[in-house]
């Protein structure tokens, strides 16, 4: 009697075809991730669509500056006699767009560098990673301060600086996640087939580091928001008197005891936004740790 003719049980009871659960799907089972997503959606919604709901214009004068109770306003006026609520509704777009743009840029470069380093190892790896280390030695905020002061607070410059200082961090994480993948045999199998290097990076390595990358991207987004807010706080606005959450905190900080809303509202907005992305990052990292553990068990 042949052993092979026993029907495989899996064939007898066909399982539904499904992709292996992605990190995001697993993470979404956690409350923290859900709360994070809800926060993010709300804040992004405010940032993108808030201006359409603002009772006043971004730079409209409504009354005595730094006053809590002004007729026609919900939360009073800011340092320049503008409606705090309207300013807050206007002030998220730029910070969000800048943060997303710079993180995306950093992601592109960081992932490319990290994957190339992980795949090639040897000298190229050394050179790439050392230069990443070196660029990490330059404090992020310091670089931003110097560059913005010398060149001026241009949006592209803010994006460039945040991206440049974020890239090495993403590159390191990508490399770290990709090195074990490079050692997995399916990469060898692809090499044996003679697949091109770019294809191997793109279709063999990248999909398999997406978990840690997603975590890192979220984390970096969180920090980018914080950094861009800090730049606003330090007075770097891209447009004169533009509404910007970070800048608002700075502009109205002095009146904290008189008219707290001017500071508190944007600060809460920044905090909720970063807490949101942070919670998602946290959920994702827990999920990907769990998935990795499950893999390790096999």
């Amino acid at each position: 009697m042949s052993t092979v003719d026993t029907p495989p049980p899996t064939a007898a009871t066909p399982q539904p075809v499904r992709k292996p659960d992605g990190v995001f799907k697993v993470a979404l089972r956690m409350w923290r991730t859900r709360i994070g997503v809800v926060l993010l959606v709300i804040l992004v919604g405010i940032a993108l669509f808030g201006p359409y709901f603002a009772p006043y214009g971004e730079q409209e004068f409504v009354g005595q500056p730094n006053t809590r109770h002004v007729e026609g306003t919900l939360l009073g006026t800011d340092y320049f006699g503008q409606d705090v609520l309207s300013r807050a509704l206007h002030g998220g777009r730029s910070i969000l767009l800048l943060a997303v743009a710079s993180t995306a840029l950093a992601l592109v470069f960081g992932v490319a560098i990290g994957l190339v380093a992980a795949y090639n190892r040897g000298r190229l790896d050394d050179v790439l990673m050392r230069s990443m280390d070196i660029s990490l030695a330059f404090p992020q905020l310091l670089l931003a301060l110097v560059a913005l002061t010398t060149i001026g607070p241009e949006p592209w410059l803010i994006v460039a600086i945040v991206a440049i200082t974020t890239t090495p961090r993403i590159a390191r994480i990508t490399r770290g996640a990709a090195v074990p993948v490079v050692e997995r045999d399916f990469v060898g199998a692809a090499e044996a087939l003679g697949e091109s290097r770019t294809r191997i990076l793109w279709s063999e390595l990248l999909p398999n580091v997406s978990g840690p990358l997603l975590v890192e991207a979220n984390l970096r987004l969180t920090y980018s928001i914080g950094l861009i807010a800090s730049l606003g706080f330090l007075g770097f606005a891209t447009r004169v008197n533009a509404a910007d959450w970070g800048l608002m905190v700075n502009e109205n900080r002095i009146a904290l005891s008189v008219q707290p809303w001017g500071t508190v509202l944007p600060a809460i907005a920044i905090a909720l936004l970063t807490v949101g992305t942070g919670l998602i990052a946290d959920g994702l990292s827990r999920a990907s740790a769990g998935i990795d553990r499950a893999k390790g068990d096999q």
């Binding site: 230069s131 030695a137 060149i151 919670l279």
Partner: protein, 319 residues
Amino acid sequence: MGILKLVLRRLALGVLTLFVVSLAVFLLSQALPSDPARAVLGREATEENVAAFRAQYGLDQPMIKQYTTWIKGLLSGEPGVSYSNGEPIMDFLGDRIKNSLFLMFMGSLISIPLSLLIGSYAALRRDKTFDNANSVSSLILAAMPEFVLGAFLVVLFATNVWNIFPATIRIRPGEPPWSDMKGMILPLLTLTLAVTPYVSRVVRASMIEVLESDYVEMGRLKGLPERTVLWRHAMPNAIGPTFQVMALNVAYMAGGVVVVESLFNFPGIGLAMRDAVRDVNIPVVQFLAMFISFIYVITNLAADIGTILVTPRLRTRLS
């Protein structure tokens, strides 16, 4: 022997790092669109004044010459003179460097043990109440920029709600940084609250890895008391990554001092940096950028060496 060689290698890398940073700093300051002479002397300066200024600070020299002069100055401990008052940089930054280092030292002294404690405890009580509470609260704290955090602490403890702690610190010139410990409280609290959540998360992660290791399970299976398992078997292995964490911590603080110092009027390098950037005081900006990078490189070096010393696998491989 081996350790010495390794230290030398890391040192060489550190020097290389600083060299590249120095190039970057120098080139960046050359890229300045506005003429520093003009910026410093202001709108009433005459052409002669500007020329005299440029000659005085060697700005009329070729770039290579300026760079080598600067580097030589840095190496000989005379990093040049401030544009704003012609004073040697070290004269007016000396005390500030001491103050900032003291602030960072005190901050580390509090936040490192605290992060270790919180991180380890959260790892031990993984997914229990403490861990969850800590993870959420640290997330929120970490999400708040220092400037928001500090401003609220001031309102809470110094001005509007309770007037318990001084709102600003006052270290008088010539006095040691510990002369106003009461004023130190809020700056330290801000730094600690800003740094600890981040660092304790790293500690938690590395501690969890250790706690899930086979050798910790083996320790339990050997019938060792939990105390021994934790302190003797888990801790020494969690210490290595912790050194990296400490370096992170210090690096983070080196950046964070700019904000904290301006919040509490702390006479340190962060404030000096801010002033110098604002005043286009290039020699001071250059020096401070180099100094902060230097701190970063040194702490990383120390962390690397520390990690090697506490990790037998690495330590013995060298000999």
